[in-house]
């Protein structure tokens, strides 16, 4: 439990714009050493990784097939509740976009449609 609190604190500090992750871990180490609780370090780092994964999952990610579609795609994504201002270009989508957020996948790509058509016709 204590490790989770430490991890959350560490994560919050790391989110600041001027944060230096290496420095932070070092400071934490010193702090724990002083308190004679260095044993906690591995479980704190484990808990931190979990928080990061959780955040990654929550953070919206929009992928678009090409540069030109970015603006339009981001707008469409907002319309379905995925709010972000950045998009990643992923040419393998062929056309359209897809978004992931909080464990949901919204797939509007031509790749997915074409795979489905192909499967429908060949089976």
């Amino acid at each position: 439990m204590t490790s989770t609190f430490f991890a959350q604190a560490l994560y919050n500090l790391a989110q600041k714009d001027d944060a230096n992750p290496k420095q932070l871990v070092k400071k934490l180490e010193e702090y724990l050493a002083r308190k004679n609780r260095l044993k906690l370090l591995p479980s704190i780092l484990q808990a931190l990784r979990k928080i990061e994964l959780q955040q990654e999952k929550l953070t919206p990610l929009v992928e678009v097939a090409n540069e030109q579609e970015i603006a339009k795609s981001l707008k469409e994504a907002v319309a379905i509740g995925v709010h972000t201002t950045k998009a990643k270009v992923n040419p393998s989508l062929i056309a359209g976009w897809r978004a992931t957020e909080n464990g949901k996948l919204y797939d509007n790509s031509a790749k997915r449609s074409l795979i489905e058509i192909y499967r429908k016709i060949t089976t």
Partner: protein
């Protein structure tokens, strides 16, 4: 060719961008056929998920590789789920996307499965191409309630004299076949399938043989035998061989039940054989360990009883309102050194409507099938027995029980009085008469006629040790010379006075003929 292009054109023309919204997770780790998945918070137990390799691939890569790997959600955890990989786990990798399919594990069922060999996912493994015209059914379902059921009232003839006479099975019943390895359990099951060929086609049960944890070569042999006998015309084989993942061996019986229910729900009769549930329990135990479920008695997970009870509950005879179909279940349990008091055997004995208990001792003494009549019962089947069989079988069980007592006593007695000797001879004749070779199930009218002959002393002129061969001769004789009598029993399902007279005439003629051939 052109029509395909046309179809593609149509599909593309009709393509309006559809937005798919799905819940996805990411594989955290895999090993031993189990995947730990992050996410999928809303997934439910027994839900099917798809490990989707296309997410990270280009279109070209995606359509080149058509393998679809599914998973079955079995553990719901705080920050994810644990699923068994249904298929080749090397297709599943860390970081892979997993999609919820929003349905419980389902398999395709339909009439077109008849004659086919499939795996527990309903996929053909006989190289005979795809199976068309099927519908998806969840493999775990609530069993029918009491109101939808009717009492068992139609016999399911195994073609094995000892069973049809003394441990009769009715359609919709659950009868356990239990015994050590190599005592003839599978043989009884397969002979029962073979015997359905002598049923009229309209009422012939569709048979489903589920092979769990068996050697592939053994199952292949069985399929070949069934094919050769023409029995694959009404049979489906579900196979999860010993080499397949534990999850497959765990699922196979449920797949068999689901396929059987399809026929039952059309008002037809179906027979499903689970060969065997001991191996299914072992597979379940293995899965449970990997899923870190707490082990209970004999290291089986605590709900292994529930596993078997919910499977066997699905055997049923449906009411008229529900179409009157049936699903008969013959589960098989393999014991160790005849120990029926072990955990899994006692569980399954308590769930079924009776058991056929096979003994290694009897088997080794040459009694085949090696049925321990004293410890075998059928609790509901006798109400489904035909009048003809009831009439002849009443006496056998009692006589055999007395014989067994005498036989034990015989080992101590030095000289026997004439009456005791006579009764022992008679018991030996009865036991011999019930012997039956593998692969030779008998139509019930022949069984009835032969047993009639035995209980009415027609074999008394033979040495007890000659009874088996005399019985085979009698079968031939009846086939040749008393066909009408057999047909009449088959039609009326009874032996009325007139038929009895005709049968006695035929039997007298048989005795006379064999007697004269002896002296000649």
């Amino acid at each position: 060719m052109e029509s395909i292009i046309k179809r593609i054109e149509d599909e593309i023309a009709a393509l309006t961008p559809i937005l798919r919204e799905e819940e996805t997770g990411v594989v955290r780790s895999t090993g031993d056929g189990i995947a730990e998945i992050d996410g999928l918070e809303n997934a439910v137990m027994n839900e099917m998920v798809l490990f989707d390799p296309t997410f990270d691939r280009t279109l070209e890569e995606a359509i080149k590789d058509e393998t679809q790997t599914y998973g079955l959600v079995l553990n719901l955890e705080e920050d994810g789920v644990r699923a068994v990989i249904l298929g080749d786990s090397s297709n599943v990798y860390e970081g892979m996307r997993v999609r919820r399919l929003g349905r419980l594990l389902s398999i395709p069922v339909g009439d077109s499965l008849v004659g086919r060999v499939v795996n527990p996912l309903g996929e053909p493994v006989d190289g005979k191409g795809p199976i068309l015209k099927t519908t998806l059914m969840p493999i775990e379902r609530e069993a029918y309630g009491v109101m939808d059921r009717s009492p068992v009232n139609v016999p399911l003839h195994t073609g094995i004299k000892a069973i049809d006479a003394m441990i009769p099975i009715g359609r919709g019943q659950r009868e356990l076949i239990i015994g050590d390895r190599g005592v003839g359990k599978t043989t009884i099951a397969i002979d029962t399938i073979l015997n359905q060929k002598s049923e009229p086609e309209a009422t012939r049960p569709i048979c489903i043989y589920v092979a769990i944890g068996q050697k592939e070569s053994k199952t292949a042999r069985i399929v070949a035998d069934l094919t050769e006998a023409g029995a694959m015309d009404y049979t489906i084989v579900v196979t999860a061989p010993a080499s397949s993942p534990a999850a497959f061996q765990f699922l196979a019986p449920f797949a068999g039940a689901t396929i059987g229910e399809h026929f039952m729900e059309q008002g037809k009769d179906a027979l499903v054989i689970y060969d065997d549930l001991s191996k299914q329990a072992v597979a379940y135990r293995q899965m449970a360990l990997l899923l870190r479920r707490p082990p209970g008695r004999e290291a089986y997970p605590g709900d292994v009883f529930y596993l078997h009870s919910r499977l066997l509950e699905r055997a049923a005879k449906l009411s008229k309102e529900k179409g009157g179909g049936s699903l008969t279940a013959l589960p098989i349990i393999e014991t160790q050194e005849g120990d029926i008091s072990a955990y899994i055997p006692t569980n399954v004995i308590s769930i079924t409507d009776g058991q056929i208990f096979l003994l290694a001792d009897l088997f080794n003494k040459g009694q085949r099938p090696a049925i321990d009549v004293g410890n075998s019962v059928s609790r509901v089947g006798s109400s489904a027995q035909t009048k003809a069989m009831k009439k002849v079988s009443g006496k056998i069980k009692l006589e055999l029980a007395q014989f067994r007592e005498l036989e034990a006593f015989m080992q101590f007695a030095s000289d026997l009085d004439a009456d005791t000797k006579k009764r022992i001879d008679s018991g030996q004749r009865m036991t011999q008469m019930l012997n039956q070779p593998q692969g030779k199930p008998l139509p019930f009218e022949t069984e009835a006629a032969v047993i009639f002959a035995a209980v009415n002393g027609y074999f008394d002129s033979f040495e007890p040790s000659q009874t088996s061969s005399a019985e085979v001769h009698l079968q031939d004789f009846l086939q040749r010379e008393a066909k009408e009598v057999l047909e009449k029993i088959s039609e009326t399902k009874t032996i009325d006075e007139e038929t009895e007279t005709q049968l006695r005439t035929a039997l007298d003629a048989f005795i006379k003929r064999t007697a004269s051939s002896h002296t000649a």
